[in-house]
Structures are given as C-alpha cells and as structure tokens.
C-alpha cells in the first residue's frame, strides 16, 4: 500500500494538522512503509469472526443520576488560552 503526497495531505486535513512540504516528503514514505506491513492482515481468514472493540464484555454501564459538586467556572477556564467574561473565546466559526 503506497500513499501519494495528495493522500497524505488529505489525511492531514481530516486530522486538522497543517503540513509543510518537508513534512509531506518525510511522512509519505514513512506512512506508506508502515501500511505495507499491515497488508499481511488481509490474508487472515476472519469469515464469521465478530470484531472485538473492548477486551472485556461490560455493556451499558450506568450510574445513579445525582447532583454532586463539580469544577467551578474559574477552575474550568483556568487553562484556557483565551477567555472572556467567563467563556472560552474562539474565532468566528461562520465568516
């Protein structure tokens, strides 16, 4: 499995990571090389085999719905890069 530079740029766009030309040159062969090693899986017979998402069969874990103390607004915002009037400040989503 060999990736093209365009595919690497597309993946990076999906992952919201800006890449420089040098990044693309470096990552394209590295990612292609890793994917080539994964090709062996295609030959494994998994007909009728259920996928495993989690090692142990816990499902629908519920907890009681009760009111408990949570972090204060100041604590939640303490690490925010930009805050204003008790909110996280972001750039306009719709220009």
């Amino acid at each position: 499995m060999s990736l093209t530079a365009e595919e690497v740029l597309h993946i990076a766009h999906l992952a919201r990571i800006a890449l420089t030309g040098a990044d693309v040159e470096r990552f394209t062969p590295q990612l292609s090389g890793i994917l080539a090693h994964f090709a062996t899986l295609a030959a494994v017979d998994t007909e009728g085999v259920e996928p495993t998402a989690h090692p142990l069969p816990l499902s629908n874990v519920m907890r009681a719905d009760f009111v408990a103390p949570s972090l204060t607004q100041a604590e939640v915002l303490a690490n925010a890069p930009v805050r204003e009037d008790g909110f996280f400040r972001v750039r306009a989503v719709l220009e």
């Binding site: 990736l3 690497v8 993946i11 990076a12 999906l14 992952a15 919201r16 990571i17 800006a18 890449l19 990044d23 470096r26 990552f27 590295q30 990612l31 090389g33 890793i34 994917l35 090693h37 994964f38 062996t40 899986l41 295609a42 494994v44 998994t46 085999v49 259920e50 996928p51 495993t52 998402a53 989690h54 090692p55 142990l56 816990l58 874990v61 907890r63 972090l71 604590e75 939640v76 303490a78 690490n79 925010a80 890069p81 930009v82 996280f88 972001v90 750039r91 306009a92 989503v93 220009e95």
Partner: protein, 486 residues
C-alpha cells in the same frame, strides 16, 4: 544512614515503622540523589521537592498516629500523563506544556490517601507513543545502566527513576508494552494489570481500549504493594471492572510446584539477541527447578498479527482521543492561522511532535471512508482471533512465559528515524495488551552487562498467579533491587 535511596519500598517501610528513620530523612536522601544524578538521567519532566517534603512531614505524623500504610512516606515517581491537581501535567507534549490540572486522577488520589510522597512527574514518550522516551518534547531520558542508551518507553522516565534511585517505586502506563519494556531495559519489575483493573479516570488518553496504569519497582513485592493500592472499581471510569480485588500481597512467598507454564513457540523469533535467548532458556530451567511444569509445545499462531492489529487499533483510538487538542479549552494555542480552522491546524502542527502526528494520521486513515473495513474492522476481527488463542491456552496453563523484549537497551538515536524498527521493540508485549491480559516483566539476568526481562502473562484478573510465579522466580534468580551506581 546516608544511602536510604538504595532501599526497596518494603525495606524502607520496615525502618519507618520501627522509627529507625523518618519519612523526611528518606525523602531528603532521594532528593539529594536526584540532585546528583538527574542531570545525567533526565527521568523527570517536573520535580516537586517542596510538595515531597510536605507530604513526608504528613507521613511522619501518620506513623506517629498509627495510621500509616505500606506506602506512607515512600517516595514515588508519577508518569506525566497521570493528572495531578495543581501540579503541571504535560504528557511530554508541547501542546500541554503549561497544563495545570484542576483535579486528581484516581490513581494519584489513591497514592495520596495511602500517604505516599511524590518526587516528581516522570518523563515519557509524547502521549505514551514510543518505546524509547526519545519522543518527548522535553528531551530523552537516559538508561541509568549506561547513559548512552535509551531506558525504553513509553514509561522510560518512571523506569529510569526507579533504577537510578531517584524514587523507590513509580507509576507508569501500558498501552502496548509501555510499562514492561522499559522495566525490562532498566532492570526493574513492571506490572501491567488486567484491562479494567485500575481506573483510567484522570489518565491522559491514548488508546482507550488498551491503556492501563501499573507500577514499576525494584522487586516483585514493591509492585505488588503499589498495585494493591491503586486497584479496584471506580464508577468514574465506565470500563473500570467491578470484579472483586484479591489481596495480592497474600500471594508472595508461595510455592509454585505443579503450576503449568506455557511457552509459546512464536515468541522465539529471528532477531532475538543471543544473550536474551540464553537468559530466557536459563529462566525456564529455573522455573522447572522450582517445580513448575514447563511446556514448550504451546502455539499461538496469531501472534505474528498482533503488531499490525495494535498499530491499527491504537492509532485509530488515538486519532479520536487527540482530537480534543484544538487550542481552545486548554493547552498550547497558535493564533497565526487567520481563521478558526487554520488556527486549529497550526496549533496541532506546532503542538504535536512527529511521532504523534504519524499516529494520528495512521489512525485517521484507518478510520476513513473506504478504508475502515480493510484496516480498523479487520484489525478488530483479528483481535478476536488473538483473544481466542489466549483463552484456549489458559484452559491448559496457569501462566504463559516469554521474553519481554527481543533486545536489551539500544543506543539513543539508533531507531528514532525508523518508525517501524521502533515498533518492533513491542513485538512480545503487544499480544497481551491487545487481549487485555495482565502481564509482568521481571529481571532474569544480564546480556552484555545490560538487564533482560522475563514476561509472565496471566489470565484475566489472575494477577495473584502472576505475583506468585514472579516472586518465586525472583527469589530463585537472585536479581532484585539492583540500583545503577551512575
């Protein structure tokens, strides 16, 4: 007593209990050792000496009041992806360089409750992605046995700190080998418990169906004590398991006669260092000498696929988990983009290191339209096959024994530019991780002067059997509590 840092945690506990030493004296000895060797080891990202001395004073008060536990006053290192309230927690990433958590992780809260003393936050590969600690935004850690070599990873700082005498015992985390492999390379004991045994609440996420916290220490007794402290159900982690927790210390010093040990053929592969092979063969003979029934006829044919399965599933989960680093709520933020999306792309481009970007992209690709079935879904199905083989094996065997790593510690820089060569370090630790099984690495001797680890894999929640075998083996092998002189 000047060399208190040489003690194991249980030896230190005996002296603390007998009031031969104080917790403040023990902590001061560790802090002096840190001052002397840390410039050469770089085991920590953040040191917390004032906090440590404060906690040590509290510990002495608990000994006076008779409320001490086996970990009261014990200096510990804490991997820097374990969230600690008020103490910077970075996951070794620039993107969290200034992150000060507003809450405690479950495991750190347990350590505090037990009265442990935190020396600092241990170095690691960024977001636990790596096997050498070279992928840290704060620079690599060095192996205390030879500082030109890597300590392994991703919990390399935790293992190096334990081996260098910069703490007595440490917490690491294991996703595909990140506790066991560095423990092996630094001559420590490392214990990755059953998935769900220890709460992941407050653990910075990498691969959520694989991540597990566990201890690294100088002997089996110390990791047993530490695991007892952090194990148990926590409703704040929905994958935390409600299975009852055994008192693991109860399984120390027990006879292992008649226990059935399976040795899978597939773990003796080309590329394994001759010195490692030799130590493992001697270890198997030692186990036989202890009365174990060692069977070399075990075959786990899907072992060869565990690497591909892991390196599809873990990056896929990581690509989702790391989507939260958008430069808005916390962490590094780059506002140079000029628009919301461009800022986010710049934040992630400049906040993440190369290996993290590679894994996010691999995972994004494996989950993307048109490739999901061929990669992610296929990997999950092969994961089922791996699980079934272990399940069948544990019908016949009490434990499965393998090498922990195909090699001893390697030079810094040797594999950092070849991602796949780095991934191969985990070839023996990945299968148990994929299955969610508990596994421990215990030192079994030296190859070319460097430590070799023996891996003991147990059935789900059968930590007791692992402790029993590991402790008996350690006693017979005579390799425990080796601190590197430096």
């Amino acid at each position: 007593m000047t060399d208190l840092w040489r003690l194991t945690a249980h030896e230190a506990h005996e002296k603390l209990r007998a009031r031969e030493i104080s917790a403040v004296e023990l902590t001061e000895s560790i802090l002096a050792r840190v001052e002397r060797v840390e410039p050469r080891v770089h085991a920590y990202i953040t040191l917390t000496p004032e906090l440590a001395l404060e906690q040590a004073k509290d510990a002495d008060a608990r000994f006076a009041a008779g409320t001490a536990t086996p970990l009261t006053g014990i200096p510990v290192g804490v991997k820097d992806l374990i969230v600690t309230k008020g103490v910077r927690t970075t996951a070794a990433s620039k993107i969290l360089e200034n992150f000060v958590p507003p809450y405690d992780s479950h495991v750190y809260a347990q350590l505090r409750r037990a009265g442990a003393v935190m020396v600092g936050k241990a170095n690691m590969d960024e977001f636990a992605m790596g096997s050498s600690t070279e992928h840290s935004a704060f620079g690599p850690s060095h192996n205390p046995w030879d500082t030109r070599l890597v300590p392994g990873g991703s919990s390399g700082g935790s293992a190096a700190a334990v081996a260098a005498g910069e703490c007595l015992v440490a917490l690491g985390s294991d996703t595909g080998g990140s506790i066991r492999q560095p423990a092996s390379l630094c001559g420590n004991v490392g214990f990755d418990p059953t998935y769900g045994r220890v709460s992941r609440y407050g653990i910075i996420a990498f691969g959520s169906s694989l991540d597990q916290v566990g201890p690294i220490g100088r002997d089996v007794e110390d990791v047993t004590t530490m695991l007892d402290c952090i194990s148990g159900h926590d409703p704040r982690d929905s994958t935390s398991n409600p299975e009852p927790v055994a008192d693991l210390r109860h399984y120390l010093g027990r006879d292992v006669r008649g226990l059935r040990v399976g040795v899978p053929k597939e773990y003796f592969i080309e590329g394994m260092e001759p010195g490692v092979t030799a130590r493992i063969e001697e270890s198997l003979a030692l186990l036989e000498g202890l009365g174990c029934i060692v069977d070399r006829d075990l075959s786990l044919p899907s072992t060869e696929h565990a690497l591909a399965v892991y390196y599809i599933i873990a990056p896929s989960e990581a690509s989702a988990n790391l989507a939260r680093y958008d430069g808005v709520k916390y962490g590094f933020s780059d506002h140079s983009g000029g628009s919301m999306w461009a800022d986010m792309e710049a934040t992630r481009a400049h906040g993440f290191g190369a290996e993290v970007k590679r894994r996010i992209m691999l995972g994004t690709y494996a989950l993307s339209a048109g490739y999901y079935d061929a990669y992610y879904l296929k990997a999950q199905k092969v994961r089922t096959l791996i699980n079934r083989e272990f399940e069948a094996a544990f019908q016949k065997y009490d434990v499965i024994v393998t090498p922990t790593s195909p090699t001893v510690a390697f030079p810094i820089g040797a594999k950092v530019d070849d991602p796949f060569a780095m991934y191969l370090n985990d070839v023996y630790t990945l299968p148990a991780s994929v299955a969610g099984l508990p596994a421990l690495s215990v030192p079994c001797g030296l190859s070319a002067g460097l430590p070799v680890g023996l891996q003991i894999i147990g059935n789900f929640f059968d930590e007791p059997r692992i402790v029993q075998v590991a402790h008996a083996f350690e006693r017979a092998c005579g390799f425990a509590n080796r601190v590197a002189e430096l």
